[in-house]
Structure formats: C-alpha cells, structure tokens
Symmetry: C2
DNA sequence: TGGAGGAGGTAAGTTTCTTACATATTTGTT
DNA sequence: AACAAATATGTAAGAAACTTACCTCCTCCA
C-alpha cells in the first residue's frame, strides 16, 4: 500500500521543512486539486522557488519525481480520506459536518478494507457454516449490530439469536456447547463482562468468533478474531464509524456463508425476498 | 465534478473503439494501476501501437492528453468506486468478495454524500431539537437501525424509543401528538404498513421525518424527507449498503443535534462516556 | 477499380522534468 | 568575529515525455 495519504504526510511534516520547501507545501496545501493539474514550472512560480526545489520537495516525500508526486496527490484527493483535521468542530454547519461524517466513515471502511485478512474471514466462515446454532452478542452500540446480524443469518435457516444484555449472554454462553458458534461484537475488546463470557463459552466447548480490536483482552479468548482496529476517537463521544465497519464485516461473513452454500441456496434467499412483495406498494416506473 | 470514473467509461465504450484503441483499452484495463505509472511510450509499446494512438485514445475520453488521462485514472482507482462489474460472483473467494463488499459500501456512501441536502438535514435537526419525544420506527433490516438511533439519541436526555414491530408502531403513532417526532426508516419507502403509520402520525399532529427513498409513497407523507436513493440491488438478496447509509444519516442527525446543544452539552456527553470506564479493562500501552 | 475518408504511423517540435554544477546561506567552531 | 563545513537554493543544460503536423496505408463504396 501507498504509505497512506501524501497530503497528511505533508501536513505533518510542515514543521520540519526548510524555507523554500515550506513555500511549496503551502502552495500545494492551499489548493491540492490545482496542484495535480499544474506543471512543475507553474507550481515553482506560484511558490516563488526554482523548479529543482519543487523536484527535491517531491523526492523528500518518497516519490520518484514531480509526475509521480502529482499522481499520489491525485489519489489522496480521490480517496475521500480527509487530509487536514476534518473532525467536526463546534461551529460547523450542516454544509460542513455532513460531508465530514461521510468522509470519516468512508475513511475507516477504506482502512478496514486493507486490514482485513481473507484467511481469517475464511476461517470464520468455516466455523459459521458448520454451526448447529449461531449466537450474536453485543452490548451498547453493538447491540443493534448483533440484531442486524441475527436478521441476516436468520435467512440461512440455522438457529440464530442475538442478545444484547449481559445476563442472557452469560446464561446462554454457559449453556452452549460444541457446535455452537458465538460471535461477540465489541469495539474496544475491553469490556470485562464480554471477556468473561467469551472465556465461559470456550470452556463450555463453543466456538467464539470475535469482531473486535486486535490484541485486546477479548481477542485473546476467541477462536477466530476478525480485527477491526480502533481508529482514534474522532467523534463526539459516540461510537460512529466503528459499528459501521462491524456491520460491513457481518455482511462479508453473510456473503461468505451464502457463497459456500452454493447456487441452490440463492434460490432459497430469493423465495424469502419474494415473500415480502405483497407487503409493498408496487415500484413506480423510473423517470 | 469530474464526469465520474473514467474506468467505467472505458469499459462501456469498449465496443465502439476501433482496433488500435481497443488494444490500448485492453492494456489499460488489464492493469490500470500500472498504466498510471507508465509513460506514453511504455504503454504504446505494450499495446503495440504508436504513441499518437495512445494520445488520441486519451482525448477521446475528454482528457487534455496523456498526463491528464493518467491523473483521471489514478483518481478513479483511488476513489474506491469499482470500475468493472464488481458484484459478488458465485465463484468468488474471500480474497475477492471482501474487498468488493467494502467497495460497494464505500461507493454508496460516496454517492449519498453528494446527494444529501444540508438544508434538509437542518430542517430535520430543527424538528428533533424541539421534540418533546422522539420515536424511531423501522421494520426488518431497518429495525436494528432504529435501535441504533435510539441508542444515540438516548444520550440527549430527551424521551426516545425505538419500535420494530408494526402493532406497536401503529399504536404509538395513533397516540402521538404535537411535539412528538417520529423518524421512519425504510429503504424502499413502499412498505404499506409504514405508509399508513406515517399518515396516522401526521393526522395525530406528530412530525414525521422519513429516512427513505425519494418520491416514494412514504416520502409523500413525511414532514421532512432525508432522501437515500436506492441503488441497484447489487447484493445477494439482502439489504446491505442501504442500512449503512441510513446509519450514517442517523450519525449526521445526532451530530447536528449535539452541535445545536452547544459546548455545555459536550460535557454532559463526556460524563456518560466516562461512566463506562469502570466496566472496562484498562487500555494497554500502544506498541 | 479508383477515389474518398478514416485509421494509424513517422518524425519533428515543444513542453516538461531531471541532473549536474555553481552560488548563496546558515551553522558551528575556534 | 571569522572561517570552514554543511546545507540550501538557483542556473542552465540535457534528457525524457508528450503533442502536433503530416504522410501512408487500408477499407469501403460507387
């Protein structure tokens, strides 16, 4: 991977640049989009430095030269990953905070996309496909994620349930056994109760799949861990992007299970979907 | 905007290209990433055509020339928007379906980001901030979304509830009145029951905010409609990306309400968050 | 079968980028 | 304070990349 987002690199290196390079950086940051379209001569003139200075600037950021630099810049801009501090600020209006929230969400998905290990996904799907019963556990903001997962997996006609309170989770974990798969969803992986419950479930012989932070206490008690790294806490004291990544991981698991089931199974899903038709107003013709 | 995604344009224009240009297109599509790094000479050689042919190819796609073309290409690649048919296929493995799912999710968020109207967000926040009581309604896959919203808005110490079954929704809608805000979440906007419920709620004097498809039957009965356009049904008979967009819209509404409440309120949120500390294992030092 | 029009190539010209080298500026040392 | 060393920046030439103008060849139709 492309050593993530050259714009951020520039921003964070600003202090350590010397005078001329600083001028170049300022010009680029003031309008990165324009920078991608301009020639080295234009940019040098705008920054009031010589062309080789711009070239050296590019090399400092591990690019082959100016054209390569522009390419990286273009990609950084297109990736939707914000380059300056794009946290929501107290004086933001709807114009500014809604794109910020979309961007932050997109950025964490892009990050998770790179980080997720297909091998681990496969192992999780292996377990799910063999399960006699699947149980989804989540607390707080992860409660609805567990519900959502139940809603998805219910269609596989395997017994499936979701629990969002500690007492039920504990009882169910204790009562579980070989062939049961418990999927625990936790952003931090540091909720004591859930760690206990994972331990309990393992002791009873159940398989535990964790959708949680890598190397967390919870992760250590799981049979399979789907790492979802906890990004910095950019939101206003509420879990926002994390649960969306969790949901996407659930989608991936559901897709994995669907594909393993093969084409006959797709027909079964279609039947379920069709059964909803009558509850709906007919679709209107597209304009 | 950049007349979205040059790779898709190339793919769809494939048929209409003449022999040499077709060769160029093939080389580019076979490894677009490589194309962004190569010179016009390299690419011409790879496609076994002359350099001007490549140049003409670029101009055909409304770019100024080869460098500009490469820039567009780089952005298309980085945007995460898939360029070929990136639907999950029956023979996909975890290597291929997990990135596809991430990409599809990112693409719908990117789309929604452009489509959402800050003015409408503002009107929705206006309603929510004045609400005596907020109620979130969702059925099926939108049930968990409503739960999630409840979980978020609960922190605002306004009375808030979520309902995911039709009977309760109907009763609550009938019992509602002025000052109550009902947020109805529906992907299609064509579920008969929910349309009835919206009508009922309006008749009782409640404000109805819809997070649903534009111009749908449901949308017509709402006080404020947050459009979330229904993308083509790319997933395997399950709602996937739609509910993630809905959740993000909820995040935006919650953020809007938080900001309107002002700085004192942030302290209140922090207190709630801190209250969870004791239920956790301490964070481990970062490596 | 010949001519018109399009497709594609050649080669020269132009722009853009890079390198080598020279000059200036800063920093540290005595 | 003054000099040396290291670093920073610019100049100019050369190389690479890109574009344009023009020419040839092929195809298709009368």
């Amino acid at each position: 991977m492309n050593s993530f987002n050259i714009l951020q690199q520039i921003t964070s290196a600003l202090e350590s640049l010397n005078r001329s390079e600083r001028k170049v950086a300022d010009v680029i940051l003031s309008d990165p989009q324009a920078a991608t379209r301009s020639s080295i001569a234009t940019l040098a003139k705008a920054a009031q430095v010589s062309e080789p200075t711009v070239n050296r600037f590019c090399k400092r950021f591990n690019t082959a030269g100016f054209p390569d630099f522009k390419l990286n810049l273009a990609q950084a801009l297109a990736s939707g990953v914000p380059y300056v501090n794009r946290n929501v600020e107290a004086d933001d209006t709807a114009d500014s905070y809604s794109p910020k929230i979309f961007e932050a969400t997109i950025a964490s998905l892009a990050y998770a996309k790179e980080k997720i290990s297909p091998a681990v996904v496969n192992r999780a799907v292996d377990q799910l496909i063999q399960a006699k019963q699947i149980l989804f556990f989540g607390l707080g903001a992860s409660g609805p994620v567990a519900q959502d997962a139940q809603h998805k997996f219910f269609r596989f006609n395997i017994p499936v349930a979701a629990y969002d309170d500690v007492l039920m989770q504990r009882m169910v974990a204790a009562a579980s056994g070989t062939g049961d798969v418990i999927v625990i969803i936790s952003y931090t992986g540091r909720t004591r109760e859930l760690v206990d419950i994972a331990e309990l479930a393992r002791a009873s012989g159940a398989t535990v799949i964790g959708i949680t932070a890598p190397n967390s206490p919870l992760a250590r008690h799981c049979t399979v861990v789907l790492d979802v790294e906890a990004p910095e806490d950019t939101d206003v004291y509420m879990p926002m992007t994390s649960r969306i990544v969790h949901l996407t991981v659930i989608d991936i698991l559901a897709t994995g299970v669907t594909l393993r089931r093969g084409p006959d199974f797709l027909r079964h899903l279609k039947a379920i979907k069709d059964s909803l038709k009558e509850t709906r107003y007919p679709a209107e013709p597209r304009v």
